[in-house]
């Protein structure tokens, strides 16, 4: 026969228990991993939030208190639950006197140790005095509670401890003992009532032991938990009763132990009311000692129905899970001998197994003992209660804490992701702008540079033009003067020659008369000649002037500041034409004048006469001519000066305009050196790449956290059913 490997009995409940709260643990570990990943990504200012969340998650644990009346089977239940049937000492009489905490911390590597803490001097007194809502509820709900009796019993405990420990008593108060191995005998010494004898073995130190902390090393996939074994309520020894109640306040979740024989007696009801008074409503009810029922197949359902009905009265609306079973069966399934296991299955038990849908024939009847153990384990209710506890944990404080942290981390990831996306958008925009800017910018810069050059050239050209212009004007004036001198001199010369000739003629005619020298012809000549030359050169000047001004006018709108416009060059003051008044006087040579007579009587020669006349005429007209020339020159000079000034002003305006524009351009060129530079583009592109990778990571974190948050929601919403 092929042997199908059965899970060995010692591992059955261990698997179930090890997985208790596994969904919570998975979520917790995943959240811790998310925290670490977030710390790698997150802004420094958000680091604090995550650094606060991490220890909350790392230290998350669920405290499960097993409570119930004395001798309901709590210690046996816990031992079976954790898969170590002989772990916690128990006895026929109320045994546990001390609160025992079993810590399952999922440490790796697993390590076991146990720590016993003793009462300090005050703590006993504080137990007697009590106080707060707990004492009030106790006095109200717990019949038989008598603070006086409690004090008396505490005193008795103290005396017994002193008797047992002698000298050591005082020194041991407030101390603690620790061991590196968890051992039933050691436990018994500290946590068990023992007998009243002064026997060293059992219960020797229980009177002064306040609590025992067992650190159990077995690896688990479930949430770290602490299981609290309490002495039990309704204990005639009120101290134990009171100690149980004191530890009730700190539990997250409670397993209420009832017995099938006396389910929900008044003391159980009082306990439940106490819990309700302390607002503790995460309960799992375990109906123990089903093995003591005569006919479980019939009885269990009826007992459960009875309990449910009464629970509805106490906790209306709450659907508390109720699991029926037997710690003793579990203990046998794990560690009992084959005979013991087989002996369990009396007909009534077989009926019960059948009723629960277990295959009796293939296992028990077939004598398959490993399979029978599995059946017995199922009957014991331990797997079911583990499942119920696991579900209740989910909507307990652990579930809420995980939910809260998941929510906070999710929002952090979401907002970081959004911020990152925003940054990416900004970077993309900047990059695009920069890129397009770079092109237009290049062209623009080029154009600007060109323009600058042009402006430079234009400016220089203008300067040159101006200089040339001024030179031209000067030249015109000079040439005008020269021409005038020349031509007017010629005129005069002609006139003089002609007058001399005339004189000569007259002289030859010997008419002694006065000779008039009429310069009107000369005047006319001179005038004509003057006007001609002057006009010519004036025209030249005008031409040059207008050429320049046109050019300047053309340039001006481009460069000159629009606000101020220099005076219109064409609106120059009109210069008067030089006057010819000097030429109006008639020169009358009175040949009969005495001085003339003397000269005449001297009977000068013709040549002398001629030269004298010439001298006279020239003496007379040369200055006139010079005057004319001077006047003309002055006028022209004035004219040209004004024109030059106009031109200069215009040019300066233009040059100013050029200079301003150049300054603008220079400024523009220098303004965004980076915007246009290829390094900027590269830098932006690199930043964008990094940002895109970061946002992917944030998105991944957000998705993970969103999934975890959904898991937390599911865990919270799932109501454990019985």
């Amino acid at each position: 026969m092929i042997e199908t490997p059965q899970p060995s009995p010692a591992r059955i409940e261990a698997v179930a228990f090890a997985d208790m709260g596994a969904p919570l643990e998975e979520t917790r570990q995943a959240l811790i991993a998310c925290c670490r990943d977030i710390l790698a990504e997150v802004e420094p200012r958000d680091r604090d939030i995550v650094n606060r969340a991490l220890p909350v998650l790392q230290n998350l644990t669920c405290k499960i208190a097993v409570i119930g009346q004395v001798k309901a089977g709590k210690s046996s239940f816990i031992s079976s639950l954790v898969g170590r049937p002989d772990l916690l000492p128990s006895d026929a009489n109320p045994w546990t006197t001390v609160v025992t905490n079993l810590h399952f911390e999922n440490r790796d590597p697993p390590a076991e140790s146990v720590l016993f803490t003793f009462f300090s001097g005050d703590e006993w007194r504080r137990i007697a005095e009590g106080g707060g809502p707990l004492r009030e509820l106790t006095e109200r709900l717990v019949p038989g509670f008598d603070a006086g009796v409690l004090t008396a019993q505490l005193e008795a405990m103290r005396r017994r401890a002193e008797q047992r420990l002698g000298r050591n008593f005082k020194t041991m108060l407030g101390q603690s003992h620790s061991f590196s191995k968890v051992d039933r005998e050691v436990l018994a010494r500290y946590v068990s009532a023992g007998s009243d004898s002064l026997d060293v073995s059992s219960g020797w130190l229980s009177d002064i032991t306040k609590s025992a902390d067992l650190y159990i090393g077995s690896p688990r996939k479930g949430l770290p938990i602490t299981i609290v074994d309490t002495p039990g309520t309704n204990d005639p020894l009120l101290v134990r009763d009171e100690i149980t109640r004191l530890n009730v306040s700190s539990g997250d979740l409670f397993v209420v132990m009832l017995t099938a024989q006396q389910p929900l007696s008044s003391a159980d009801i009082a306990l439940l009311r106490l819990l309700r008074g302390l607002h503790k409503d995460r309960l799992v009810v375990f109906l123990n000692r089903v093995d003591g029922l005569a006919d479980p197949a019939d009885n269990v359902d009826r007992v459960i129905a009875h309990i449910e009905e009464r629970l509805q009265g106490e906790f209306p609306g709450a659907r508390l899970p109720i699991v029926a079973g037997s710690a003793r069966w579990a203990s046998l399934a794990i560690a009992g001998s084959d005979t013991e296991v087989a002996a369990v299955f009396a007909p009534s038990i077989r009926d019960y197994a059948r009723k629960l849908g277990l295959d009796v024939t293939a296992t028990i009847d077939a004598g398959d003992l490993p399979a029978t153990r599995v059946v017995l384990m199922t009957l014991s209710g331990i797997p079911d209660v583990v499942a119920a506890i696991g579900r209740t944990m989910q909507h307990g404080s652990a579930g809420y804490a995980l939910h809260q942290q998941a929510q906070m981390l999710f929002h952090l990831a979401q907002s970081s992701e959004r911020a990152q996306l925003g940054q990416i958008r900004a970077l993309r925009r900047a990059l695009d702008e920069t890129r397009s800017n770079a092109e237009t910018r290049k062209g623009q810069l080029q154009a600007w540079r060109q323009e600058l050059e042009q402006l430079d050239a234009a400016s220089r050209q203008l300067q040159e033009n101006l200089t040339f212009y001024e030179q031209s004007l000067a030249a015109i004036v000079a040439r005008c003067g020269n021409d005038l001198r020349l031509l007017l001199g010629e005129c005069l010369g002609r006139f003089v020659d002609q007058q001399l000739e005339d004189l000569h003629l007259r002289f030859q005619q010997r008419r002694k008369q006065t000779w008039r020298s009429d310069p009107s012809a000369l005047r006319k000549d001179l005038q004509q000649e003057f006007l001609r030359v002057y006009g010519y050169w004036e025209g030249m000047l005008q031409q040059v002037d207008s050429q320049i001004m046109t050019e300047l006018k053309r340039l001006m709108p481009r460069f000159a500041a629009p606000a101020e416009s220099s005076s219109d060059p064409s609106d120059g003051p009109l210069l008067p034409a030089p006057g010819f008044d000097g030429l109006g006087r008639t020169q009358v040579f009175d040949l009969s004048t005495p001085w003339w007579r003397s000269w005449w009587s001297a009977q000068p020669t013709a040549a002398e006469l001629a030269s004298k006349l010439e001298r006279l005429l020239r003496g007379e007209f040369d200055p006139l001519i010079l005057d004319l020339i001077a006047a003309a020159t002055a006028t022209l000079e004035e004219r040209s000066r004004q024109a030059a000034r106009q031109a200069r002003l215009c040019t300066l305006d233009i040059v100013d305009g050029i200079r301003r524009r150049s300054a603008e351009l220079m400024g523009g060129l220098q303004a965004d050196p980076g915007a246009a530079s290829p390094e900027t583009v590269r830098r932006l592109a690199a930043e964008l790449q990094i940002a895109e990778k970061t946002v992917l990571r944030w998105g991944d974190l957000r998705t993970r956290l969103s999934t975890l948050l959904a898991q937390c929601h599911i865990m919270l919403d799932e109501k454990g059913t019985g």
Binding site: V70, D91, N93, D235, D241, Q261, A267
Partner: protein
């Protein structure tokens, strides 16, 4: 007075220590009849006869044994055990709602005593609702020999903090009380509180640890030991049921012992009253004196 009785008085021989209550009562009845018949006419005789009648009534009626305990502590099972047969319904969940008085009756009968004290027969059609209510109780009459001289009261589970139990009305309160506690969770604080509130003398109280079949054999003595140390002062005796395999029943003998002890005490008290009465009637008349020693010896 007695001297006036012709024929004298017969000697009643009774052992002073080991009083036989049944014998005493029957003798007392005899004497009363004699006195009534022969001396009833005289005032002394009439008063003596009345006294004797008064003493006889409580001594001859059956003793009431109330079975008390927390819910589901096994009270009804105990009664069935005492009756010697599974008659009352004992169930897994708490069942007994009304006090049930089980007494001897030659003809089996089931009666409901309502709050006013009236008895109504319970037929197959049940009982009219208007008769039910607080203070109701059942009276069951059975022709069982065990019930001769005893009345058993099966009480519903006592809720601590509530008023002391309403004994079935219109009858004397119980003479003997049996407290039932489950052996596996024996003698808890609530039980202590409830028991103390009843103020029962230990002489007439029994503590029974039930469902001891759920205890491993080795633990029986441990539990008994604890019960003895914690509750020994409150009870006449502490026993465990059911007996171990092959063991003898201890419950019935314990109850019988308590019952006899109680009767013996009462008889002794009655004898004392008679003696003092006869001393008051002291006068010449040796018959009285003779009666008195006889009564004294009874």
């Amino acid at each position: 007075m007695i001297a006036a009785i012709p024929g004298g008085v017969e000697q009643v021989s009774v052992m002073p220590d080991g009083i036989d209550p049944a014998h005493f009562v029957s003798r007392l009845a005899q004497i009363r009849r004699v006195v009534a018949d022969r001396l009833g006419a005289t005032p002394a005789g009439a008063s003596t006869a009345r006294l004797l009648a008064r003493l006889e009534a409580p001594l001859s009626r059956p003793l009431r044994v109330a079975v008390l305990g927390d819910t589901n502590s096994g009270k009804t099972t105990i009664i069935n055990r005492l009756l010697g047969r599974d008659l009352l319904v004992a169930d897994v969940i708490q069942n007994t709602r009304l006090a049930a008085l089980v007494r001897y009756a030659r003809v089996p009968s089931l009666l409901l005593r309502d709050a006013a004290g009236d008895l109504h027969p319970v037929g197959s059609g049940g009982v009219e609702v208007r008769h039910l209510g607080r203070g109701c109780s059942i009276e069951l009459g059975l022709p069982l020999s065990r019930l001769e001289g005893l009345e058993l009261i099966d009480m519903p589970g006592l809720v601590p903090g509530a008023d002391p139990p309403a004994w079935p009305q219109h009858g004397p309160s119980p003479d003997i009380a049996i407290w039932c506690t489950m052996a596996t969770q024996a003698w808890r604080a609530t039980e202590i509180a409830t028991w103390r509130a009843l103020h029962r003398p230990s002489r007439t109280s029994l503590l029974v640890a039930t469902r001891s079949d759920l205890l491993p054999t080795t633990d029986r003595s441990k539990v008994l030991g604890r019960l003895q140390s914690e509750a020994g002062s409150l009870f006449q005796s502490i026993v465990m049921t059911p007996p171990e395999n092959g063991g003898e029943d201890v419950l019935v003998p314990a109850l019988d012992a308590t019952v006899s002890a109680l009767r013996a005490v009462r008889c002794r008290k009655a004898a004392g009253i008679i003696r003092r009465h006869s001393e008051r009637l002291e006068g010449p008349g040796h018959a009285t004196r003779e009666l008195v020693p006889a009564a004294n010896k009874a």
